[in-house]
């Protein structure tokens, strides 16, 4: 049974969404008409479990330093500062089962968008002024910064085909989503369901 409201409203040009219920969330899995090739795929992943973990040594537990992130096959884990970790669970169970009380569930607090495809970096550079592709290391990168006056968190997965996730407070979700639409106007941006995002993830994020 759907008990929760989706974080963002889709524009009519996105097509007719096909929704499934997942943990009480209405989730757009795909659109009635095939999406086709796109420069940037934009996918609402806000239903996925998210958390902040705060504990002495949690950064070393995950073998991360501030500004770095990693993909463990289930979650993207990032380190914003010492003793803090951010978890974006993309593949695990839909009901958050966090290990202990050091975790604060942020599933309903944040929206989470997947931005992926050949033009994804170009689109992110229209949203974010911080360097998202530093040459000093090749591992996934975590950045907390501002975009359109909104505090956002970004992970560059640094996959073969560019891919990012961006998160912000749910109250600003629609604004961020529309900023993404504007930034992707000339980059053949298409709004996709989760099927396309997970297809990309399975192929490019090993």
């Amino acid at each position: 049974m759907i008990t929760r409201a989706r974080a963002v409203q889709l524009p009519s040009w996105a097509g007719k969404p096909v929704e499934a219920e997942l943990g009480g969330w209405p989730v757009v899995t795909h659109f009635e008409a095939a999406t086709g090739a796109c420069g940037v795929g934009l996918t609402d992943l806000s239903h996925r479990p998210k958390a902040i973990a705060q504990a002495q040594g949690i950064d070393t537990h995950f073998a991360l330093t501030p500004g770095r992130a990693k993909w463990d096959g289930q979650s993207l884990i990032a380190c914003p500062k010492p003793a803090h970790a951010i978890i974006f669970d993309l593949n695990g169970a839909i009901e958050p089962q966090w290990p202990d009380s050091t975790y604060t569930d942020m599933t309903e607090g944040w929206v989470l968008l997947g931005i992926w495809g050949p033009e994804a970096l170009g689109m992110m550079q229209r949203l974010i002024t911080v360097d998202l592709e530093p040459r000093t290391f090749n591992e996934p990168l975590y950045v907390a910064t501002g975009s359109h006056g909104i505090r956002v968190q970004v992970i560059n997965l640094r996959t073969q085909s560019p891919g990012f996730i961006i998160a912000c407070a749910r109250s600003h979700g629609q604004n961020l989503f529309e900023a993404c639409l504007r930034a992707g106007t000339q980059l053949n941006l298409k709004i996709t369901g989760t099927d396309d995002f997970y297809g990309w993830l399975a192929n490019d994020c090993k």
């Binding site: 501030p66 914003p80 911080v130 907390a144 910064t145 501002g146």
Partner: protein, 79 residues
């Protein structure tokens, strides 16, 4: 503001990502009298030149950062 602030967690960032937290001052002890607290809360050096000040990285990591900034030129230096 034409300067950048080095955050120890996030790296070099635009100052508009931060909130200014004022001059670094030593807080009065628990037994301080009202005059001392008044001086601490409401009065500043307002100096021209380098001073130590607090900046809060509200768009980034959410930590307070100590910065040594020239209030005339915005030049930022190490201690």
């Amino acid at each position: 503001m034409a300067f950048l602030i080095d955050c120890p967690n996030c790296g070099r960032r635009n100052p508009y990502e931060f909130r200014f937290g004022g001059e670094c001052k030593e807080a009065p002890g628990p037994d301080a009298d009202l005059n001392t607290w008044c001086e601490y809360l409401y009065f500043n050096e307002n100096m021209s030149g380098f001073q130590q000040e607090w900046w809060y990285h509200n768009m980034g990591c959410g930590d307070w950062v100590k910065v040594r900034r020239n209030t005339v030129t915005h030049e930022i230096t190490e201690d």
